[in-house]
Amino acid sequence: MTIIQVFDPALCCSTGVCGVDVDQQLVGFSADIDWAKQKGAQIERFNLAQQPMEFAQNTIVKAYLERSGVEALPLILVDGEVALAGRYPSRAELSRWADLVISEEKPKSGCCDGNSSCS
């Protein structure tokens, strides 16, 4: 099974609600992760402020930090390889990596909207 690893910058907590200002992106991304996990995706999140050893022990992440610095986080690895850097993935990207079906709830009125089949 695909493992998605998210290496966050130093955060007070993963939604950012404990910080002096709440970052909209973090709130949205935390919700997306929760959604993807409920769908069975395997996602791990590491906070630089709380689990720095995870950063130090992963050669890819360590090298990335040395080259680009903390400003360049987050870094997302899929099965140990860099999948995205410098921004958080969208729900669609998470689904693609984890092979999730993104929309099983269809609007009642309509028919299919493209790639999924009406059932």
């Binding site: 130093a10 907590c13 939604t15 609600v17 935390s30 929760d34 959604w35 402020a49 709380q50 689990q51």
Partner: protein, 587 residues
Amino acid sequence: MTALRFLEQPPRFLFFTGKGGVGKTSVACATAIMLTTVGRRVLLVSTDPASNVGQVFGVPIGNQITLISAVPNLSALEIDPQAAAQSYRDRIVGPIRGILPEAVVKSIEEQLSGACTTEIAAFDEFTSLLIDSPLTADYEHIIFDTAPTGHTIRLLQLPGAWSHFLEEGKGDASCLGPLAGLEKQRSQYKAAVDALANPLRSRLVLVARAQQATLREVARTHEELASIGLSQQYLVINGIFPEEDVAHDRLATAIFTREQNAMATMSKVLKSLPCDRIELKPFNLVGLDALRKLFTPVLSTHSATDTSTSAIETPSLSKLVDEIAKDQKGLVMLMGKGGVGKTTLAATVAVELALRGLSVHLTTSDPAAHLSDTLQGALANLTVSRIDPQAETERYRETILATKGAQLDAQGRALLEEDLRSPCTEEIAVFQAFSRVIREAGHKFVVMDTAPTGHTLLLLDATGAYHREVSRQMAGSEVHFLTPMMQLQDPKQTKVLLVTLAETTPVLEAANLQADLRRAGIEPWAWVINNSVAAATVHSPLLRQRAENELQKIEAVATVHSKRYAVVPLLENEPIGLERLHELANN
């Protein structure tokens, strides 16, 4: 020796709580000494961020259990939130220093320097003392000289709130900062809560003075703590004026009558508690000898000669207000150890400014302060408000859910709601309310009665963290920005009045606070000495002795500590109501 009820068959844990300045530390220290004299091994713990237990025993204590050599069988520990947070930071950062780039290490340290890390790290140490551990196994009694009321209540409520937070399992545990990933802490909190609620193991001693406002507050504390399970409570009324020392002195008679009246009219709940009364002593409670004598009545120093001591000439608070008024607007903050009368003096400054025709907003961030009780009246250009941590936290949660959470689906919203229940949000919410108040001072006077020392410093720390955050984001851009911290550092915009009493410990603590503020780049504008007996005319021997003791302290404040100062006399009547507050400033 009179038998004191709170010392009868003491359980293992003894907590002393009460408003600052009522003598908690003295009573806690005297209790510790007392128990060691009957052969018990005692650990005395202060959870006050501005602890002075070390000063009482004349040895530096700090974050380690320290043997008090002058008192056999006694050890002491000061839980210092800053040091606890530092050791937590070292634990996290130590292993990666030199492995990850320096800038990365710095960003971690910065993130871990907030108020929340501090609070949680200190709390973690507190609970570790309530559970069975080899560290404390040797002690038959652990005595907690707790932090001032509001903070204590929060601290004591946390075990319940947090084990709940962890049990839910939905919330993001990383929101617990230092406790992240340590769900095993859950059993520690459960054990701590159980120990607190068990009367065979814990006894709570409410310490008060015989003043109406203090007793009302103690009644509130009693109910709040009883509601979280600390049912076995005792009451100690400290510093009662002894009848035989009244000696035809008007001020002494007034104090005596006022105190007896306050005790006679205290609430039924308080009257039902086992109660001990300790008399006012003519000496300062510093040093072992003084502490050993605290629980023993002193023989009155009746002198046959009918002499009196006249009030000394001192600058009045009104003079300081004249100078403040010249600026037409700004923030006036009253700071100092709890119980020195910040609320009363903040109300006085606000009333005096309002009487000079200026527009004033009087506010408090002390969860235990009650401005309306002090003012008992209204003035046209004076508004009064209160930063209520609970209400602010609720407001903050609602705002975040309505803005940042607006786009989320039901599930995402539920997750955000869970995270917002993290104990850290309260600190942020109070800080935001504080920032609003600071902004308001740009166009009128805002007089702020701050929370007790330690909490105020945590708040300022949050202000500092915000300042660093904004500065970093703004670095390189041409945008003009003004953070709350910059406003606090500008004497044109902010005037800090340090409030103290003319006694050894309060003066020392105010001086320490002044040093802390200076490190944060804030220069206190003036000192105010409250409740001065020397500034009143007295002839009761006990009061004369106390007035005599004060002179040296007033001298030190005037010449060493302050740029400008004022002395507010001890009045015959409790300074409540607009008229008496006005009298206080102009005596």
